[in-house]
Amino acid sequence: MSNVIANAPSNADTMTLEKEGAENGPAVMADAQRKSNRSETILYVDGVSVTFDGFRALNNLSFYVEPGELRAIIGPNGAGKTTMMDIITGKTRPDTGDVLFKSETDLTKMDEADIANLGIGRKFQKPTVFESHTVFDNLLLACSGGRGVFNALFHRLSGAEKARIDKTLTTIMLDDKRDEMAANLSHGQKQWLEIGMLLMQEPELLLVDEPVAGMTDSETEETAKLLRAIAKEYSVVVVEHDMEFVRDLDCKVTVLHEGSVLAEGRLDHVQKDPRVIEVYLGR
């Protein structure tokens, strides 16, 4: 907010601005809106573009997530959803645009490990867990705390860590799989384990890419419940194709298409948007 005040034009200027505003009023409004958005966002993505070999995967993408918000992102294949996560988590650098965490930290200058330690956890589209470790060890490795080499060398499991892991095991419904190799889990269970690993990192923002892909209906329902519970404590961005699931999440939806935002709002609202129907839902 202080930014806005400092930059606020004097009264006289405001007058002239207002006159001009007749023509470019909406632009000025949008700008002010953007600034105020920025000051209270956990995630601020603004004007981001990325090109892969001449192909624009993201095209002037802007959206904002408020602290504590649960946000669903939908969009047809190739819309740029995963690329957007790559940008936020430092895997890909944007050609242009700003990505800010908690309105202040510029994520485009940092690498994956830094961003993870800052408090952004990410679940991959293809579930990725440490297959040759037990479920318990998977969670242990994700457990927040010393990430240094020598820290890890001399680390001994503390009671507090054990308690946290056990709590997370219950949350992700894998209590009885504690000592099972992660490789032996079902596809859905791996998805849950990966979500559990994010929780162990104690992030502030979770980015979850297609958490119910390949899940049975009942697993999908459980996952929606799980994510809603998680969203009470953290800010969560979920990418998903499954409309039923998105409806279950009961949250604001952003529709991506060809690398930019096509529509935003409640699911019922965006589903009525003719452009959305044309590119996505109508197919």
Partner: protein, 390 residues
């Protein structure tokens, strides 16, 4: 299974060693060998059926050095997925450090009788010892260098490679290039390491003649001790949380990054430790074989080490030791009986192991079989079936 780590809270090392069955067997064998072999070699008369001739003591000592080298490769390949095809370079550097000490020990007993300069330098008409030979008249210095130089090279090389995220086959290729570059460099006479003849004609070590049976037995025992110590260090690393991170890097590197670990530091650590172990192996090897030359840098030798590990069983540590013994015994045998067939045999062995024993010889022993409980026979059956269908 009993949770030994709980029982032995005060001594965690004992705890995790007791859980490592293969490691316990290996350490027991090493201890027994380091007691029995010197006795059988030095105390029993030659006529005794149990007498171990000196050449065999040295041969076994040489195998132990190879085993340590294989262990160092398994530590990075088996546990962190870093397929180094240049570990022979670290081994050779350790060997050269020891060789330089042994050269200085010759003193004025060389052909030219120069008390300071090794023969090859006199031959090149050099008048002064190059600065990088300073200090190698001291045993402790040579030992430190045998570990420090390979460690430093691995650190610098690893820093550049891992920071740039060079992985997989690209990393393997540049490790080959590294050892090949060193091969060419050490071939040059003006490098000051004896050119293509290398360093040889050693006389004694710490005042003990290298030809004597006692020294040979001593070197054998030292090889056992260092293999055992390095095994314990390697096992300590792999069973720690750091070791779990290494395995995680091997299986899903990007997941580890997004979990907040600096993958490059972990790789750098284990790569450097591994190079130091290879250096120690080289330093123990040279006095037992009596020569070190640039041939040890040959890229093909580094590839052979990987085969030892694959044959024994990757990712087990003791499997690497076993593999080094099996393949090198076979090599000794074949090069004696039909030298022309050795390379065919090695290639065939490698293919057979990849096809039928993906977990190596160790994986075929039920007691050490995989954690997934897949037995050797069912593994073979599966593979044959899969092959039949394909």
């Amino acid at each position: 299974m009993t949770d030994y780590s709980q029982k032995y809270k005060m001594t965690p090392v004992v705890g995790w060693l007791l859980q490592d069955r293969g490691g316990m067997i290996l350490l027991a064998i090493l201890i027994a060998a380091s007691i029995l072999i010197p006795i059988c070699s030095l105390l029993l008369p030659q006529s005794s059926a149990f007498h171990v001739p000196t050449w065999m003591v040295s041969l076994l000592g040489k195998y132990l050095c190879y085993a340590l080298l294989a262990l160092s490769v398994d530590l990075i390949w088996g546990f962190c997925g870093i397929l180094s095809l240049g570990h022979g370079a670290f081994f050779a550097l350790g060997g050269y450090a020891m060789g330089m000490y042994l050269m200085r020990q010759i003193g004025d007993r060389g052909v030219y009788g120069n008390p300071d300069l090794p023969d090859f330098m006199v031959f090149l008409n050099w008048t002064e010892l190059p600065w990088y030979w300073y200090g190698f008249d001291m045993f402790w210095f040579a030992i430190v260098m045998a570990m420090f130089v390979p460690g430093l090279l691995a650190f610098v090389f690893g820093f550049l490679a891992f920071r740039s995220r060079v992985t997989g086959v690209y990393l393997s290729i540049i490790t080959q290039a590294m050892t090949y570059a060193l091969l060419l460099a050490f071939f040059r006479n003006d490098m000051g390491f004896g050119g293509n003849n290398g360093l040889t004609d050693f006389k004694d070590l710490l005042g003990y003649s290298l030809q004597s049976d006692g020294t040979r037995a001593g070197l054998f025992v030292a090889s056992c001790v260092f293999l055992g110590l390095c095994y314990i260090v390697a096992r300590g690393i792999t069973q720690s949380r750091l070791g779990k991170v290494l395995i995680a890097i091997r299986d899903a590197e990007s997941r580890v990054r997004f979990t907040g670990y600096r993958v490059e530091y972990y790789k750098l650590f284990v790569f450097t430790v591994s190079a130091v172990m290879a250096g120690i192996a080289g330093a123990l090897y040279v006095p037992q074989v009596g020569i070190i030359n640039p041939g040890e840098f040959a890229p093909a030798l580094s590839i052979e080490i990987v085969i030892w590990v694959a044959v024994g069983g990757r990712g087990t540590l003791y499997g690497a030791v076993l593999g080094a013994f099996i393949v090198n015994y076979a090599k000794t045998f074949f090069t004696g009986v039909m030298p022309d067939f050795w390379l065919f045999f090695l290639g065939g062995l490698f293919i057979a192991v990849t096809l039928f024993l993906p977990k190596g010889v160790i994986g075929a022993v039920p007691a050490f079989g995989s954690a997934n409980g897949q037995s050797f026979l069912s593994g073979v059956r599966k593979r044959l079936n899969a092959g039949g269908k394909a």
